[in-house]
Symmetry: C2
Subunit: 333 residues, 2 copies
């Protein structure tokens, strides 16, 4: 999917985040995995990540959503649409967004609630979908909320990927823009020959939870990190080239680059292979881990909170996700 | 979510369907449920439904997708976007649409693939999302495909709802319109106080497949049919009134009305309470059952195939889904 170099006058009017209280250090995981002290942090680049104790998908989403609405100054009754955008969901039916409407206390019938899943790029795709509605005047305010609980689906027998993930929720309120805030060029593409490289093969029709042949490890993440990295090395550079051409930009055009926090290796590639300067790149992998679809918006929201991204900045949101899907968005915050 | 009464110049350029071979008669279910002959058909209004044997979610989707592309005369390389829109999915990660790209042999990197879930209204919501991209010139052709396998998640201890469901896949190709084909008024709203009335509470973070406390019935559909019907009786008539006002239409304006094939009681309400004439209303519940999100597009595609809906007809697509979500779309086919 491509688009011409037109702008949509929409604004991320507010952001909100939620982190579970429980901090899990890499030392704790070294012990759990039976590795020597320092192995987990050194291998994954993650020093600490959060795991839920009793927090639920919809509680986390509602908490992030409440903060986002407050920071946007948008009243609950002005939310026309709730998109829950994540790789994980609360349950199979109904969709997670319905529970976010209920948990947040948004007015009955005041919004349409649906889920969007583009794995790690779910939030970015949902932001693009929301921007279409807002730019066309079909919605006044859209709540795009990503609540990921990865910790219940980690495989201790694959410590390299298990140690990588963390739990988090992030919400954005998208409204019409009367300032310079806007979305420019957007590019997404899926390369499905990589479909098996990162997967959670259960919880669907293929390996149904009630199928006696479904094994526990099918209900856990499995990542062929090196194979993904190899494939990304091939498909990402021409993707970035096409994106920059469409955006009329160069790598050094952007005030900040917010990549998906896929892995240490993946983040290193952003500066070493993709052509960005270290000082442009926002990372939070060391303290948050890979929070699946929550990674890009969490790194973004934390950079805004820390004053590293400011209103008026031109920001590149970019990442890869299971699929293999690539995505990039040119955003004037 | 509301929208003003503007038109989007998009066209459902082609439709394709796939039905699993295996036909399951209500007599067969009478015997399976230990009921007297005739009970299942009388209670549910479903005489026959299809269940998969070995057909998979992505095979069904690809087959429907191939037919839709052929009937639209759209080449695989012109598909910019694949939206898999369903309540059921192939697996947890990656999303179903990725597997549709691969199974259909669509070009690597030629389309963005993501899933949309608004339970029974997933196809309708995805059609609306697709129409935004096409109308804005951001996509040339979008494949919206719904592949639902319900049969693996039925609870034989709840024969009234178990006997209701069937498996099916349907695809639509959405393109720019140079004829009179267009989408007019669209209205969606979610009433989340009804979130628990129809559910499949497993396969997510709430009752994880590997959680020892997850019971098999959590991985099956549970429907409080009468409670849903009661709630729908309260919220649907004012919804239709608002929709008609927005569309500048009356019930008798439409050449055809394609309701979600929720249940016999639900379909009876379309004519008895919602104000439509029986000859307007398209039903296939008796031969297909409730195919979740595939129901509206399947009834639509079969009516087109049978010559009951023709090019130029003004069609109302309307339904309720778990959530409780209501949706309606004014479509000039």
């Amino acid at each position: 999917m491509d688009n011409t170099n037109r702008f949509r006058a929409v604004r991320i009017a507010g952001l909100g985040t939620f982190l579970p209280e429980r901090r899990v250090s890499s030392e704790e995981l070294d012990a759990a995995f039976g590795r020597e002290p320092g192995w987990t942090a050194r291998t994954t680049g993650v020093v600490e990540r959060r795991y839920v104790r009793r927090e639920t998908t919809e509680q986390m989403a509602a908490c992030a959503g409440r903060h986002a609405l407050q920071s946007a100054g948008v009243a609950p009754e002005d939310v026309d649409m709730v998109i829950a955008a994540a790789a994980s969901s609360r349950q199979s039916v109904p969709c997670t967004a319905v529970f976010v409407q209920r948990e947040l206390g948004l007015p009955e019938g005041g919004s349409i609630c649906f889920d969007v899943d583009a794995t790690c790029l779910s939030w970015l795709v949902a932001l693009d979908i929301a921007a279409n509605y807002v730019a066309a005047g079909r919605a006044r305010a859209v709540l795009v909320v990503t609540s990921e609980i990865a910790s219940c689906s980690l495989n201790p027998r694959e410590p390299e990927s298990a140690a990588l993930f963390g739990d988090a929720a992030v919400a954005a309120v998208v409204t019409p823009s009367t300032t310079g805030s806007r979305i420019g060029h957007v590019l997404f593409e899926t390369h499905s020959s990589g479909a098996d490289l990162a997967e959670f093969s259960g919880a669907g029709t293929r390996h149904h939870p009630n199928d006696p042949e479904t094994r526990p490890e099918m209900n856990m993440f499995r990542m062929q990190g090196r194979a993904i990295f190899k494939m990304a090395r091939r498909v990402v550079p021409p993707f970035i080239e096409r994106f920059m051409e469409g955006a009329g930009a160069r790598c050094d055009t952007f005030d900040a680059v917010v990549p998906h926090q896929a892995s240490k290796m993946g983040l290193d590639a952003v500066t070493e292979r993709w052509g960005f300067r270290p000082e442009q790149v926002i990372t939070n992998l060391a303290t948050r881990g890979n929070c699946i679809a929550a990674s890009i918006p969490l790194a973004f929201a934390e950079a805004v909170g820390a004053g590293r991204i400011n209103r008026g900045d031109r920001v590149l949101l970019i990442g890869t996700g299971a699929g293999l899907t690539l995505g990039a968005m040119d955003l004037w915050f």
